[in-house]
Amino acid sequence: MSAQHVDVDATRRARDLLGVSRLTNLALTRWTHGLPGVDQVGLEARAGALGTRSIKAASKAWAIDTAISMIDLTTLEGADTAGKVRGLATRALNPDPSDPSTPSPAAVCVYGDMVATARETLGDSAIRVAAVATAFPSGRASMPVKLLDTRDALAAGADEIDMVIDRGAFLAGRYLEVFDQVRAVKDACTRADGSRARLKVIMETGELVTHDNVRRASWLCMLAGADFIKTSTGKISPAATLPVTLVMLEAVRDWRELTGEMVGVKPAGGIRTTKDAVTFLVAVHEVAGPDWLDNHWFRFGASSLLGDLILQRQRIRIGAYSGPDYVAEDAPSIY
């Protein structure tokens, strides 16, 4: 298992992988369109079958704790206030006050201007601060603005950057433009002291229309140097469906075959229940492999999921069904 992403020149490596002397849009188009097509019926059948696994009690307890540790606890609202972000960060530090042994989420995910607030509240805890950047969620801004957005979040103390790709450019077939943008933002993720923030690339799969496009976008983003490929902003429906995540998990698995490097996967949006989360973990194990069952390589972008996981955790601990009165959040849909 390669522990950390290796520093490589993305363009040079892309030329090597594609076997071309100059990286052109045509070369990228030929390469991404040369990827095998996705068998949609088979994919959906596989996704459906993964959801029917019977998970025994001991495995379920492990899965709940693992899932909690993989959450990027997220608030991305226009109405976000410093108080709300402090509340979210406090909750990340102590997800279930009735049981201090509850693990903490991996990160708190906020808009760039809230990074400093989140960082201050989290102090020197291991919980990271992720910032959405590059004109999230639409991505409709000029490149200088996107890069400035990224550097701004970084300067405020972000450990991770969640960028969005230009879906318009991707759908219009301007793959080189998408590649260059991801590569440029990746370069901007290097701090003055040489350390690097990890880059999650949001493909907004709900806007990519087909599974073939999801596969192409996944490879394109990995080629450009993404540390994580992420499904969605959470602002578009459908967001993180299981079939789409399966396609992405296959992509990172095959990418490791090809290059020896691991890339993380982050489904985000629409994962609300413990049952959903456990099904995703089953998929990670079956498709990508157990190496990905770690919050360095797999994350859930979610806000209400944590509450449901805690309800289930309490249910196991007290031996009775718990209720939303015992969780510091709005009522989730199911226990």
Partner: protein, 296 residues
């Protein structure tokens, strides 16, 4: 002409306004009092009860927030639909409880009349149970009854329809939502009542009915932290139900507990034909008192 093929009814659960099978896939045979096979009913599990609680909790804001007048109209509508289904209810009560047709008819009539009686109560509870309190200070002091929340109801084991109506209607009249465990041996009329509820403007989730073993499901309801009160009527005469355990579990989140008369094995169902009074309604209410300063 060849004889007509019998169309047999599958009795399912009633959760969130839908009629699902048990998530466990189990069912059990329901027999008439005389011993003949009647039908298969779903053998509900603790997870069905859990789903029912989720549905009941989700339905609570809308049902408790409806005007009392509207709740009264909706409940009266239930009685109208029951009247139309009276023939089926009479047949199920007669078979299940071993009554003559005439006696079963009287029981069903009483059940419908009981429902009508309760349907008149929503917009009267506040006047009867609330009021303006005389206080020693410059305040208007007002008390109003409010629903307690989600109420688990163990339906009476013997009186499968009249008993059920007599414990269910007073719970939902005031705006509570209910999770009912139907009579274990006589669940059929409960599901038929569910079909009346489903076709009479009662929002999905206000009443949820789980059929199955009371002793299996009741402990999970008693210990469930998202339930605000529990009516133990059906614990009387129910095999294998430990009252002390249920009450202890219910105490964990300070549920209101309504017990039937008597102790343990000596407990008995009341005569459901007698006038009910307001006790079953007041058992599932909270009193909110407001102090409002007034000038001279």
């Amino acid at each position: 002409m060849s004889p007509r093929v019998e169309v047999r009814k599958t009795y399912k659960l009633f959760i969130g306004g839908a009629f699902p099978r048990s998530e466990s896939g189990r069912s059990y045979a329901v027999h008439a009092a005389a011993g003949a096979f009647l039908a298969n009913a779903a053998l509900g599990s603790r997870k069905d009860a859990r789903n029912a609680v989720v549905a009941a909790r989700a339905a609570f804001p809308r049902w408790s927030g409806a005007t009392a007048y509207n709740r009264g109209q909706v409940l009266y509508r239930v009685a109208e639909v029951m009247e139309g289904r009276a023939e089926q209810l009479v047949a199920e009560v007669a078979a299940g409880e071993g009554l003559t047709a005439a006696r079963a008819k009287a029981v069903v009539d009483a059940a419908i009349d009981r429902w009508v009686w309760y349907a008149g109560w929503p917009d009267k509870l506040a006047q009867v149970l609330g009021g303006v309190n005389p206080v020693a200070g410059p305040f208007f002091d007002i008390s109003v009854p409010e629903p307690t929340g989600v109420v688990a109801v163990l339906a009476p084991q013997d009186s499968s329809l009249l008993g059920l109506v007599s414990v269910l209607a007073p719970v939902i009249v005031s705006g509570n939502t209910a999770v009912v465990v139907a009579s274990e041996a006589r669940p059929l009329s409960a599901i038929t009542l569910a079909e009346c509820l489903a076709t009479s403007d009662v929002p999905g989730g206000v009443v949820n009915i789980v059929t199955g073993r009371t002793a299996e499901i009741a402990p999970w309801l008693a210990s469930h932290r998202d339930i605000n009160a529990i009516d133990l009527a059906g614990a009387a005469g129910s095999p294998g139900v430990s009252w002390a355990e249920l009450e202890r579990a219910a105490a964990d989140n300070l549920k209101r507990v309504l017990r039937p008369a008597g102790q343990g094995a000596d407990a008995s169902e009341p005569d459901w034909l007698t006038a009910p009074g307001v006790e079953r309604m007041t058992a599932f209410l909270e009193t909110k008192t407001v102090w409002h300063p007034k000038g001279r």
